[in-house]
C-alpha cells in the first residue's frame, strides 16, 4: 500500500505482511453454510459490495435482501425474519450498526434474544475515512447490551470458523468483519469457540492480551521481543462478550507485566474488561493499555494513521520494551 493515499472504499485494509491471505472469507463461509442451512438469510443496507456478502447473494438471491441506506430498518427487518424462524446475517459498517441502529439492536434483537447476526465492517481504525466511518468504540457500545454476543476475529481462519459458530449459536451476535483480502495468522489446529480465549504464546516476562486484528501484531511483537531476551506470552481473546474471565485471570496471574492490545479505544473495550477482571480476581498488577485514544481520528491513509496511533507491530514492541 502506498503511504499518504487515502484508501477508497472496498480496498483491502487487513493485508498482513508476508502472510498468505484469503479473499472475502466471511462471504465465502456464509455461502457455503447456505447450502446446508436453508434458514440462513442475508441482508445488507447498501453495503453488500463492501461487506463481502455478495457470494451469498449470488448463490441464494431469493434469501438476500438489500434494504437500502436504512440501518434501523435493516435491524428491524432482520428481527422480523428471525421471528419466522430464519437466521439473518445482516451486514453494514460498525459505525452504523451501533450509533445509528442502537435502539433496534437493544430492543428489537437483544431484548427478545432473537437469532440475528450483525456483521460489521470497518472495525476500529481500518479505514481512512475519519470519524464517520471508524468504529473505534463499537465494542464498548455493544458490550452494554444484555445478552448480545460480541466477536472480534483475528484473521481469515477465525472469520470462517466464527461465521459457522455463530450460525450454530442461538441468539443475537455482533461480529466485527475483516473484509477483502484477509491474512491467515492463526496456526493450523487453532480452534475457535465462542466465549473462549486462547493462549497462543507462552512467556512470563510480559503477558499480552489481544483481540481482533491486533493479535497478529501481538504475535509478531512477541517473536521480536523473544530475540531481545523478553519472554512475552500472548492470550488471544476473540470473544468480547461473554468474556473469558477465567482464562484472562489465569494468564494475568502468570505474567510479571500485563499489556492489552486492541483495535479500539482504550476505554470500554478489551482494556476495561481486563482491568475489571483482574480487580474482581484480586490480581493487583498494572495494566498497560495499547489502543486508540478517547478522541475522534482524522482522515488519512490507514498505514499512516495506524502508525500515528500506535497500532503497528513496531509500536507494540516499543511500548513493551520501554516497560520497567
Amino acid at each position: 500500500m502506498e503511504a499518504g493515499r487515502t484508501l477508497a472504499m472496498g480496498q483491502d485494509e487487513a493485508v498482513g505482511g508476508g502472510r498468505r491471505s484469503v479473499e472475502a472469507p466471511f462471504g465465502r463461509a456464509l455461502a457455503r453454510l447456505g447450502e446446508s442451512r436453508p434458514d440462513i438469510v442475508g441482508l445488507t443496507a447498501d453495503l453488500g459490495k463492501y461487506t463481502d456478502i455478495l457470494p451469498f447473494r449470488d448463490a441464494f438471491p431469493d434469501r438476500f435482501f438489500n434494504v437500502g441506506m436504512a440501518e434501523q430498518n435493516l435491524v428491524a427487518v432482520a428481527a422480523g425474519l428471525a421471528r419466522t424462524g430464519k437466521v439473518p446475517f445482516a451486514t453494514t459498517y460498525g459505525v452504523f450498526a451501533t450509533r445509528r441502529a442502537y435502539d433496534f439492536v437493544a430492543i428489537a434483537l437483544a431484548h427478545s434474544n432473537l437469532d440475528v447476526k450483525i456483521v460489521a465492517g470497518l472495525p476500529g481504525l481500518t479505514t481512512g475515512y475519519g470519524g464517520t466511518h471508524q468504529a473505534i468504540e463499537d465494542l464498548a457500545l455493544m458490550r452494554m447490551i444484555p445478552g448480545l454476543t460480541i466477536i472480534d476475529p483475528c484473521d481469515a481462519t477465525e472469520i470462517e470458523a466464527a461465521t459457522e459458530a455463530i450460525a450454530d449459536y442461538r441468539g443475537p451476535v455482533y461480529m466485527r468483519l475483516l473484509r477483502g483480502s484477509v491474512p491467515i495468522v492463526l496456526e493450523p489446529g487453532y480452534v475457535f469457540e465462542i466465549g473462549k480465549a486462547r493462549r497462543l504464546r507462552d512467556g512470563s516476562d510480559v503477558g499480552i492480551i489481544s483481540t481482533g486484528l491486533m493479535t497478529e501484531r501481538a504475535l509478531d511483537a512477541a517473536d521480536a521481543l523473544q530475540k531481545r531476551g523478553i519472554a512475552a506470552g500472548v492470550l488471544h481473546v476473540p470473544t468480547i462478550k461473554p468474556f473469558d474471565t477465567g482464562a484472562v485471570a489465569e494468564f494475568a496471574a502468570s505474567a510479571d507485566r500485563i499489556v492489552t492490545v486492541e483495535n479500539h479505544v482504550v476505554v470500554g473495550g478489551l482494556a476495561s474488561l481486563v482491568v475489571e477482571t483482574l480487580f474482581d480476581a484480586g490480581i493487583a498488577k498494572t495494566v498497560t493499555r495499547i489502543g486508540l485514544p478517547d478522541r475522534y481520528i482524522e482522515c488519512g491513509a490507514v498505514p499512516t494513521l495506524q502508525a500515528k496511533y500506535g497500532l503497528t507491530t513496531e509500536a507494540v514492541i516499543a511500548t513493551i520494551a520501554a516497560l520497567d
Binding site: 430498518n73 428491524a76 432482520a78 422480523g80 428471525a82 421471528r83 419466522t84 430464519k86 428489537a108 427478545s112
Partner: protein, 282 residues
Amino acid sequence: MPRNSPPGSADIGALERKAMLLRRHMLTMARGQGQGYIGQGLGIADVLAALYFHELRYDPANLAWPDRDRFLLSTGHYSIALWAALAEAGILPVDELVTYGADDSRLEMSTLDTTPGVEMIGGSLGHGLGQGVGQALGLRIDRSDARVFVELSDGEMQEGSTWEAAMSASHFKLDGLVALIDCNGIQADGPVVLDMEPVADKWRAFGWQTSEIDGNDMAAVVGALADARNRNGKPKAIVLRTLPGKGVPRIETSEKSHFFRIDVAQWDGIIAEFEKTVGASQ
C-alpha cells in the same frame, strides 16, 4: 381450531358488541391501578374487535402456528386494548385482566413479548413496521399465505424508521402486509405536535394501497380490512381516524387523554357513564 379461516361474513352488530365488551374490560383494568392508557385503548377497540373476531386467522390453542396471521402492536402502551382482546380471544384468562399494570403482572402497561399472543416488544416507537416487513419476507420465503398486520400511530409516523420500513415494504411488494395507522390526534405532549397531514397521501406516495376511514365505524373497518385482502403487489395502509376515549364522553373530551390517572371513585363514575352510553346504543 383456527379462527376466521377463511373469514366468514361479518356480523357488524356482534362485532360492535364485542368492541363494547373490550371497552368494559379496559375500564375495569384501568380502575385497578387508577390509571392507564385508556384513551388510546378505547379508541382502538373497534379495530381490535374486527381483527380478532373476524379478520385475523389464528389458533388460540397453538400460538406458534407458522401459518397464523400476525398482529403487531407497535404502540406498546396500547397494551390495555390488546390484553382485553387476547382475553376475549381465549389466549389470556379473563380473570387475569384485573392485574393490568400491577407489579409482577404479565399484563404490563407496555407490551413485552413474554406474554402469550404478543408478536413483538412494542413501545419504542418506530419499531413495528420494519419488524412487520421482516415477518412478511419470512412468510414469503416459506410460501405461506399468512398476513402481517401492524398497528402504528399518527405520532409514530414522526419516527424516521417508520418511513424506512414503508419504503422497503413497497419495494419488496409485500402485499400481505397491512399497516393500521391509528390517527387519534394525540401524542405525549398533547395534540399531535408535528403536523402529519395529509396522512393518506403520504402512504400512497410511498407505494401503498391506501384507504382512509372512521376507525370507530365497525362497518367501515370491516370493509377496509376486506379490501386489504387482495394480493396485488402492494402493501396496504388503512388510515384510521379514531376518537381517543371513544364510548366514554368524559374521557373523549378530556385534555389528559394521553395518560389517564384519576381516583377510584371517579372511575366508578366513568364506568357508570360508559354503561349508560352502551345502554342507550342498544
